[in-house]
């Protein structure tokens, strides 16, 4: 592929990535040319800004019926260490440690929990802390609640929106291809349903994020197909705010024998995501999964968002991710400045 030409097409907004183009980018040995191109796209969109939120992750339950092979967090009901947080416990967590702007609420598919549990949590948080944005529940949890309640996706999403949900979380996308899902998350909703639910959310006026879990059993073409499907839906709805490429962390999972992606692969994937998803405003370097050191390097490879302080995160930590326990705003801002960028504190909807 002619790199210079690609850059010019992108500048003019005329480039529509094709599968073959992205294959070329992935097979390129020139990580840094890719990185530079991605960095240029990032600078055009977001300048030298790096977004972060003061946010707390609340993993309301670890009981999950899906039992995905890459997960180190989930438990079966009755297992030791299985838990469900009460509304009071959640409110206490939100109130702890001073000011936050955002709650990230995700957990397992636990059949004991009905729609009213989520409506109550969201209502309670919004009543007590009206300025906190709630980014919560992944498409997987929406599907689970809809099935339990025997209601449509739209019904569930609107009920949560009424309660005060601001945005849908992007998790559970993994890799869309069925051939991969059957190997790593056979009980999870299909890629098609994941996309349907996000489309429904966008039509209901709920923005969302999108993720991709990579570096396990998938091949490059599966990543490409994943990116192109997201791009296509974004063209249709414009409802995605950010894309989060998540490197697979093998520790404590059933795929522990796998290595997980190298730093080179991670940066390449971040860069290609930025190049392929020109219709997404933000690419997130989720430092809990990527490691803080690599995440700050990724800011030069297309990423413009570090997610946030991510207090009390458990899912990534259980799989060997970075412990967010010691993070605070001052530290995060300092790291962003030292890396040569301008820290911008964001709300859930990037205001």
């Amino acid at each position: 592929m002619e790199w210079r030409g690609l850059h010019e097409l992108m500048e003019q907004g005329k480039w529509v990535p094709q599968k073959e183009d992205l294959m070329d980018l992935f097979s390129s040995k020139d990580l840094l040319k890719l990185g530079k191109l991605a960095h240029q796209v990032r600078l055009n969109k977001n300048g030298k800004k790096v977004y972060y939120a003061l946010n707390r992750h609340i993993n309301y339950t670890n009981v999950c019926e899906n039992g995905c092979l890459f997960c180190a967090f989930s438990k079966r009901k009755g297992d030791s260490g299985a838990y469900v947080l009460s509304i009071q416990e959640i409110i206490d967590m939100v109130a702890r440690n001073g000011k936050i702007d955002e709650v990230h609420l995700v957990g397992g598919c636990n059949s004991d929990l009905s729609l009213s549990y989520f409506v109550d949590i969201i209502t309670a948080i919004k009543t007590m802390f009206p300025n906190i944005g709630i980014k919560g529940l992944t498409a997987v949890e929406i599907a689970h609640i809809a099935k339990k309640e025997n209601k449509s996706f739209q019904y569930v999403i609107l009920a949560l929106k009424d309660a005060g949900l601001d945005a849908l979380a992007g998790g559970g996308a993994e890799i869309f291809a069925n051939s991969i899902r059957s190997q790593i998350c056979p009980n999870k909703i299909s890629g098609k349903i994941w996309l349907d639910i996000h489309k429904t959310a966008h039509k209901c006026g709920i923005k969302s994020n999108a993720t991709m879990l990579f570096g396990h059993v998938e091949r490059v073409e599966h990543r490409i197909e994943h990116l192109l499907k997201l791009r296509e839906l974004q063209e249709e709805t414009g409802g995605f705010m950010s894309f989060v490429p998540i490197p697979f962390l093998p520790k404590n999972t059933k795929l522990e024998y796998k290595k997980g992606p190298t730093a080179v692969d991670i940066l390449k994937t971040v860069a290609i995501s930025r190049i392929a998803l020109t219709n997404f405003d933000h690419i997130k370097a989720y430092w809990v999964m990527m490691g803080l050191g690599l995440a700050t390097i990724a800011l030069n490879f297309g990423a413009d968002d570090l997610e946030g302080t991510v207090l009390s995160e458990r899912i990534g930590k259980d799989a060997g991710g970075e412990d967010s326990g010691l993070m605070n705003e001052e530290k995060l801002v300092q790291i962003i400045r030292q890396s040569g960028f301008v820290p911008v504190r964001r709300t859930t909807l990037y205001n």
Binding site: K29, L31, L32, G35, K36, H39, T262, A263, V264, L267, G291, L292, G293, L294, T296, I297, N300, I335, Q338, S339, G340
Partner: protein, 344 residues
């Protein structure tokens, strides 16, 4: 993109380090890397670290390895242990030994010359005795630096590692390592060694109490000496490891390491090789370092006692190093201590 670069002044370097974006820095570093080395090749060595004693009267503030003479875990390696280590090195296809130790006043000079002869008998090259050790020998054995170097060379010393440079600023050294060789002594040992035909490496340990300017002056001192002697084979830099010592906790982020690496590559335009430090940075960042000016993945070491005492523990065997290089997109080539490539 072709950069018409000229040799950097301190002001240029300072401006580059603090203002230029990562990609531009990387491109400049890569251009200079490739002017000295094949662009697709990354070399590495198979060797073993032997730290003959941990008794050291320097007791630098950043060091977690050294011990006082009466400490319970103080040691001096004896001949039998040494032979065992040398044999194991031979078995793994090692070409040389990296021989360094603490400044231990109880050892006679003959301990060193005999150790050198012993290692040479097994056909291994000895890359050993950093300038601080040489200066120390000159002091306690009442010889000139030239005499020490000549005698060690005669006993079998092949080349000298650049360890102990830390930051070549006496202001910093007085604070961190007041008993260690001064800037002038370090450089003078290197210059004298080069003149005797002994090649050396140069190092820098940064990220503790020094300023950016002090780092750059360090690079300048090395570059100036290289202009005079052309005796440095490689430059190796690593951030100070903060886990286990008395200095304030300060961890250098990988991004800062990569920028410093790139600046070193650009600034030291007369030094052929720059190593990536997997020992301090781990596999991931070491791979990235190959894109920021490094052309060499260091060596297998087999045992590493100094950095690991400071709380950073990574170990890689030859297979793992080759894999690391090839999965980063380069061709691994085994080299000897003088950077001669040993495979085609």
């Amino acid at each position: 993109m072709a950069y018409k670069w000229k040799r950097l002044t301190l002001t240029d370097a300072s401006r580059l380090l603090t203002t230029v974006d990562l990609h531009t820095l990387r491109e400049m570093a890569t251009e200079i890397r490739n002017s000295h080395n094949k662009s697709d090749t990354v070399t590495y060595a198979v060797d073993r670290n032997i730290n003959y004693t941990n008794i050291c009267m320097c007791r630098c503030k950043f060091c977690a390895f050294s011990r006082d003479e009466d400490s319970q875990d103080a040691y001096v390696l004896n001949k039998d242990v040494l032979i065992e280590k040398i044999k194991a090195t031979k078995e793994k296809g090692g070409t040389h030994v990296l021989l360094q130790g603490g400044l231990n006043p109880k050892l006679p000079f003959s301990y060193h010359t005999e150790m050198l002869k012993l290692i040479r008998e097994f056909g291994l090259h000895v890359h050993g005795y950093s300038p601080s050790e040489i200066v120390f020998f000159a002091n306690i054995y009442h010889m000139s630096i030239d005499e020490v170097l000549a005698k060690l060379k005669e006993a079998g010393l092949g080349s000298i590692p650049g360890g102990g440079a830390e930051i070549l600023s006496d202001r910093t050294r007085r604070n961190l390592s007041p008993k260690k060789a001064t800037t002038k002594e370090y450089l003078s040992v290197m210059e004298k060694a080069h003149k005797l035909g002994i090649k050396t490496t140069a190092t820098m340990m940064f990220g503790h109490v020094e300023t950016i300017l002090q780092r750059l002056v360090h690079l300048k001192l090395i570059r100036d000496l290289q202009d005079r002697t052309n005796g440095f084979t490689a430059f190796i830099l690593w951030p100070y490891q903060p886990w286990q010592n008395e200095l304030p906790f300060k961890k250098t982020q990988p991004l800062e390491y990569l920028r410093m690496l790139a600046i070193s590559r650009i600034f030291l335009d007369n030094i052929p090789h720059i190593q990536a430090s997997w020992v301090t940075q781990g596999k991931d960042v070491a791979q990235l370092a190959l894109y920021f000016g490094a052309d060499d993945m260091g060596s297998t070491m087999m045992e590493e006692n100094v950095v690991s005492a400071a709380g950073t523990k990574f170990m890689l065997d030859e297979g793992a190093i080759r894999e690391l290089i090839s999965s980063a997109g380069f061709v691994p080539k085994k080299r000897d201590v003088l950077y001669n490539i040993l495979e085609n």
